[in-house]
Amino acid sequence: MTVHNVFVITKNTFKETIRDRILYGLVAFGALFILLDLFLAKLSLGDMVMIKSFGLAGVYLIGTIITVFLGASIIYREVEKRTLYFVLSKPASYGDVILGKFFGLYGAAILTVLLMAAVYLGVVLYQGGGFDARGFVAILYQLLEAGFFVALLTFLSAISTPLTSTIAAALILFSGHFMSTAVENVKRIGGFTKTFIDAAYYLLPNLEKFNVRNVVVHHVPLSLEPFILSAAYAAFYAAVLLYFAYAFLKRKEL
């Protein structure tokens, strides 16, 4: 594996991804969705908590949809369309491919999230909320989650079809955000359900670690330590998923 080849594949993947016309449509839709915040601002009589909550949720929702759209077939397509032949018949390894695809897609996901974040920050500024630095922190957390999510999609697309990858990713996303609440709730129920949910809680990623949107809009103090821990958590999960993606791809008969 060479850093140079990873960089070359990253650049190529990024270029390919950001030239997708459907992506432009989705980004435009996302921007419009966030601009709806202006309408909400009128309805809520300028309540900044409402404006920020809706805006940040919009950036998260559309960013996640775009990431799934871009990532669900990222490796599958390479295998099915045999474009991998061009890469692997050259002095490039399976590891170069997996990492290059991951970083290229992650770069595109970051770009789209930042574009929508810019619209969000513009809306808050326009509504008289100034530069929402705390909102930007929530976006940074979202980018950490996107890193995990891109790795998950890279792994899923190496082992299954785009449709299966999309469904699996949606389920993991849902359970990842739901598990913390579920663990609290089953404490009262106990028994097998508690054991099952506890096991699932430790097995599945806890994506609530990346959700600071409520903390941000309600002005709860923020510190650096949870951010570093969340970054390490995302990096660990991503590394494991990418390793498995590599192992599965290497075993595939091209």
Binding site: V8, D20, Y85, L88, K90, P91, L254
Partner: protein
Amino acid sequence: MIEIKDLKKMYGRRAVVDGVSLVIEKNKVFGFLGQNGAGKTTAMKMMVGLLRPDAGSVSIAGRSVLESETREIIGFMPEAPYFYERLTGFEFLKFCGDLFPRHRKKTGAEYEALLKKVGIFEAKDAPIRNYSKGMKQRLGFAQSLVNDPEYVFLDEPLDGLDPIGRREIKEIIKLLKQEGRTIFLNSHILYDTEELCDEVGVIHKGKLLYAGSVKDFCSGKPLEDQFIATVEAHNK
């Protein structure tokens, strides 16, 4: 020299390539002939390191093809290639060139010269999705030459080309031979194979039925007749 020893690949219980052994000397054009599903493409994929054989080995210039350094000196054009459709022809070629450590410093002019060589220079800045089948075939051919390879593997290089395109690609293959390169090609088009190749191999149901000079194989008859006779004799 390309040395293939007892190469075997199984898909399930079926041997797709079954004990193929071949030696191809340097600076030869070798044509690998066989019906659809005979095992030509699978064999070629093992030769360029895309597939791992279940048994046997492939060595090129004395080194295993599975070594990254070996792939520095080979070029491969897959059959009916698919591309990154949103890139331009130039960008794709540069992407391929950048994957070779020795060719990273290639200039834009050098890539353009290669595009001129295969006759698609005019379309260099157009997205590949707008290319015709023949243009894609030429681009696939160009990327196989991007590293000035000593050994070139071409899987059906003349498929999808019009007569003029075929003639041009044949001229380039002849030129590559003149430059001292070794060329291994799979082809269905026996007329062209006869014109281009010094040696042929006939593969049928994974087994190599013949390997040797075209002259000896044909012994005065057209290559197509001799190929059909060889395959039918084996089927009886």
